[in-house]
Symmetry: C2
Subunit: 284 residues, 2 copies
Amino acid sequence: MRIHHECVACAINQCQKIVEMSLPGEEARRDAMLFSLKRASKLFSEDSIPAVVGGLLFLDLYEFIGNDDPFRDYKRLSNEIARRLVENYGDSDLRTSLKLAIAGNVVDFSTGYNPKRLEEDIKRVLMEELYVDHSGDLFDNLGHAEKLLYLVDNCGEIYFDRLFIEKLKDEFPNVEVFVAGKAGPIINDATVDDLIEAGFGELAEIISTGSRLPGTPIEHVSEEFLRVFHSADVIVAKGQANFETLSELNDSRIFFLLKAKCPAIAREIGVPIGSLLCLNQRLR
Amino acid sequence: MRIHHECVACAINQCQKIVEMSLPGEEARRDAMLFSLKRASKLFSEDSIPAVVGGLLFLDLYEFIGNDDPFRDYKRLSNEIARRLVENYGDSDLRTSLKLAIAGNVVDFSTGYNPKRLEEDIKRVLMEELYVDHSGDLFDNLGHAEKLLYLVDNCGEIYFDRLFIEKLKDEFPNVEVFVAGKAGPIINDATVDDLIEAGFGELAEIISTGSRLPGTPIEHVSEEFLRVFHSADVIVAKGQANFETLSELNDSRIFFLLKAKCPAIAREIGVPIGSLLCLNQRLR
């Protein structure tokens, strides 16, 4: 997916939030915003993938402001809240755990989400129908798959991913599961360390995408990651950034699980904003 | 006043609204936002006055999208609503008409204001106290002034300015009043044509700042305007852009009448966001 018109202001607004989280003084904030504007102007073009140029912009801004992980507290809070919350859903069936994994995708800094709203939002989202639902095909494909690659998105959300993977393992005990996190901190994305801390190691092989960029930008990931990517029979890709970075592959193995939270993603997929999706592009 | 850190994202967000108002197609919108980003990157520096760089950016964007007045409908609606509304306040005393002129400053596209809320907002604002109130000095100064220059801000708001000027003329019949509008359309600012249409010609001499830029940027206004500006005994400057462009003169003749609607203005003046102000910088 290439940028839509909203991606420009969205990236600059996220820079402002990062700057406000990291720098107390007005002069330093102003300089960091001028830096962001100039970097964005160099990075963004009509061919840009939003998660890639956004990620490159944020990493440059992290360096400028001297803070390698401005979202440390936000991520810790999201993880704590989700870890406690997911305990209420341990008895869920496979399909409910899939919906929970999509519902968990509400946690998203870029849309200004407050993780304290998570409990009520999860309950509400569970009442909604999926707007696109290819979960039947996902489960059919897993029935004769050997290897599942699960690409996580945000902190907090990962606790619902863990529950879903537990249920998948119960249902498809012969499938080998790989779970991929980011190589280092970027916005509120889950890193390899977050996956280890959340106990994914008991369920799956934890791997790194080899990149700090959001999503799974094939031109920036590691060789090692690519070997797993190419050998997987089924790929579950969580969240908007994974859709943005993988949609043009038009790969029949990929099932995108996400909430279409912004107008650009919703327009690109052709669904209403807020839609819950379990989407395989080849099945539409 | 020089830019604060919020001014960068605010300008880009306003560009997005302009683009969405003017262009229906996504590809054209995306190109216009990329243009805005690149222009803003060239224009903005730490020494920028927000109203000036914002105005230059918007005028360049108008040219890029081929629309010389994207706010035509917004301005017409604001004027219609305010024209009807002000009729309810014809009997106001001088001090109430001053508060109405400040209250009218809620009409502001840059903060996403919907002019349909005007009636209820005017009522609410009339109940509030001015946070800084130098109106006693304003009226004292007008008592021995010969020439008042009144710098208007937005469409809609100008109908409350007209009422205030009527009351000023009743109270200070010997003061000659000059009212200055913009030389051409820029966001929802009142132009000379808007002032003529609103009947200011019956009360005052209507003049042009000689510039389309918001506020009164002394380096961009006309010689003719400057002659009036320098010869005035008292200057009433409405709205944020006039504060931004004139604050560094630290001119004892200027009374700023505005609502501090954004965090940057509020921080610069040292008042809470939303404060109603009749401010003379030399009296603080």
